[in-house]
């Protein structure tokens, strides 16, 4: 667009050469810190390389991937009571008993262990995987991502709508919104870890008990059914304000005349929200959703600090495989899987929401 008046082709060429020269350092750095390591990880994922060891790695083909991703579903036959010839039941709970998964799941060519059990049309099945921890990590990461992004969007939209109406003290409000965003993620994990302490030294337990919920001894971070909700709560606290700020910026782009016109036409506030706010906020919301989702999929800090090795996200599983088990080949395969995962999510999102990148 520039230099319209004297667009000589020579000038254009000079401009182009300058542009390439200016881009060179950035792309060199990105090659060194991103593309080359990515290539290395890809190659390493086909070997049994060990971390920080002089041993020569062997090429193992897709073995690491098969080990991580192999899954199978087997039917669990009912346990038959020898005396009655009927299905045995648990003495205490009265639940029908089934064969132990260990005896049903295959051991060759690799050993499968139980991920979960489910019933379907009156039959009992077990889902087995050769690396149940990884399968669980993928599942937990997905659940974490979907629920926390959903909550953040709803809460963020609510906060943005409230703050968007003019009132005294709006500046203070906006400043307060930046505080959770500015707290280091590790620090917020530690702060919440302390608030979620499993006895009444933890403020959340005290508050819940005061509201008549729980016995004041809920172990949020060690009871499996509480772990994900607790982490989602922390993530929602930390990132909702960011979402709200983005949506607020989007709201402020909507011209006021539209609302005035709608009022003249007799549209109520709900109607205005549905036919003006939502459609016009869509592009902003789409971008915010993409950023937050991709961010949540690579969650590491919260899981590593608050749950350590009792429950993994994809990223923390990768870390522990590399540093704890020194299984570099396998960790690399996990890295590649995460990469593909995030890539698919990004493309799907951009297609689905029609985000414009220009």
């Amino acid at each position: 667009m520039m230099f319209k008046k004297n667009t000589g082709s020579k000038l254009l060429q000079r401009e182009q050469r300058l542009a390439y020269l200016l881009l060179l350092p950035t792309f060199l750095v990105l090659i060194v810190v991103a593309l080359y390591p990515l290539g290395l990880v890809f190659v390493t994922s086909f070997t049994d390389r060990t971390f920080a060891s002089p041993r020569e790695p062997n090429y193992v083909g897709f073995n690491n991937y098969a080990q991580l991703l192999s899954m199978t579903i087997r039917e669990l036959p009912p346990l038959i009571d020898e005396e009655t010839g009927l299905q045995a039941v648990d003495q205490k709970t009265g639940e029908p008993l089934y064969e132990r998964p260990l005896r049903v799941l295959p051991r060759e060519p690799r050993r499968y262990r139980e991920v979960s059990q489910f019933s379907f049309f009156g039959k009992r099945y077990v889902l087995g995987a050769s690396d149940p921890d990884f399968i669980k990590a993928v599942w937990d990461t997905l659940v974490f991502t979907v629920i926390s992004v959903l909550l953040e969007t709803i809460l963020g939209l609510g906060i943005a709508l409230v703050v968007n109406s003019p009132f005294k003290g709006r500046g203070v409000m906006r400043a307060a919104m930046l505080v959770p965003w500015a707290v280091i993620t590790v620090v917020s994990a530690r702060m919440w870890q302390w608030m979620l302490a499993p006895t009444r030294v933890g403020v959340i337990n005290v508050i819940l008990q005061g509201l008549g919920l729980g016995d004041g001894n809920i172990a949020f971070l060690s009871q499996p059914e509480w772990q994900l909700p607790a982490l989602i709560m922390v993530d929602v606290w930390k990132t909702t304000p960011f979402m709200a700020l983005l949506l607020l910026a989007g709201l402020q782009l909507i011209p006021n005349e539209l609302y005035e016109a709608a009022r003249v036409d007799g549209a109520g506030s709900f109607r205005q929200f549905i036919s003006i706010t939502m459609p016009l906020l869509r592009p902003t919301m789409a971008v915010a959703l993409v950023f937050r989702t991709l961010d949540a999929l690579r969650v590491f800090d919260l899981f590593q600090v608050m749950l350590a090795q009792s429950r993994y996200s994809m990223a923390s599983y990768n870390y522990y495989q590399l540093i704890g088990n020194r299984a570099m080949g396998q960790a690399s395969a996990i890295g590649v899987i995460i990469f593909i995962f995030i890539f698919i999510f990004a493309v799907a999102y951009i297609r689905l929401l029609g985000v414009k990148t220009d």
Binding site: T26, A34, L38, V162, A182, T185, M195, Y319, L322, A346
Partner: protein, 284 residues
């Protein structure tokens, strides 16, 4: 009457939101002013109280301990070095790229923009092991290693935000310089660079916060070099003085100490930060 009820409801909602946003931080301050016994009181108290007399009795012991802790002080220093170096480097390198992408015509511009944008979404954990190989291969110790690896997220971000800033600068400015016989580079240095100063401050601050926050690379690369640990690693691995009992009073004091400067900075540059964040995301 309905109007008054509406107002009251509105302020209640505002109050709830503010409490929700600030309470965890208040709790950290509150806990940091308690001693070991006060922390273990059940039920916990909303201000530091004496376990026996129930009177208000805050203590600064945790802060004293934190400032005497070598690991924490070193962590602050390491973090400051690493985050500033990564920020300055990405500003220096990214500024050129952003100028080219925002104001020059060349073939392959769209693909270059796409590559930069996709880099901002890059899952860093993927390349953890590969990056480790690169860093040891280059013979770098933990601190320069972290600086280099942080460029993977600070650089694309810097380029992206600054590009949108350059794009918005009026073309007339450059045309005028052109008419006066300035080369593209002179235009950049004499006209555009001074204009970018505010954008540089904002972008730099955001990149600094991102680098200050980073945990995964820091944890991995300092695993065999504890002296190079940054603040997040130091806080995550805060040493327990009493066996098995985590020193939450001191951890909270450390949390408050590292959070306050960032919060103050963020509040000072509030408007610009919001503008920078939205430029990074919304114009995407």
């Amino acid at each position: 009457m309905a109007k008054l009820a509406n107002r009251v409801l509105f302020w209640i909602i505002i109050g709830v939101i503010i409490v929700y946003l600030l309470f965890p931080f208040y709790w950290a301050v509150n806990s940091s002013l308690k001693n070991e016994n006060q922390l273990m009181m059940t039920p916990t108290t909303f201000v530091p109280r004496d376990p026996v007399t129930k009177e208000l009795s805050p203590t600064l012991d945790n802060y004293r301990a934190v400032f005497q802790s070598d690991q924490f002080i070193r962590g602050l220093r390491n973090s400051a070095i690493v985050a500033s170096a990564a920020t300055l480097l990405s500003l220096a390198i990214g500024l050129f790229a952003a100028f080219a992408l925002g104001k020059l015509r060349f073939k392959g511009k769209t693909s270059a923009l796409y590559i930069i944008l996709s880099m901002t979404m890059f899952p860093q954990v993927t390349i953890l092991s590969g990056l480790y190989v690169v860093i040891t291969g280059l013979g770098l110790t933990a601190i320069p290693g972290m600086v280099l690896s942080y460029l993977i997220f600070t650089l694309p971000f810097t380029v992206w935000v600054l590009t949108s800033f350059f794009r918005d600068l009026p073309v007339e400015l450059m045309q005028a310089a052109q008419v006066d016989g300035a080369t593209s580079f002179q235009t950049f240095r004499l006209i555009l660079l001074p204009l970018t100063a505010p954008a540089l401050v904002t972008t730099g601050l955001l990149a600094f916060i991102a680098a200050w926050n980073e945990y995964l690379f820091a944890l991995t690369f300092t695993a065999i070099e504890p002296a190079s640990r940054t603040v997040p690693v130091a806080i995550a691995l805060f040493p327990a003085l009493v066996a098995r009992q985590e020193p939450f009073g001191e951890i909270m004091a450390a949390a408050v100490v590292v959070t306050i400067p960032i919060v103050v900075l963020v509040l000072i540059f509030q408007r610009r930060i919001v503008a920078g964040l939205t430029a990074g995301a919304i114009k995407g």
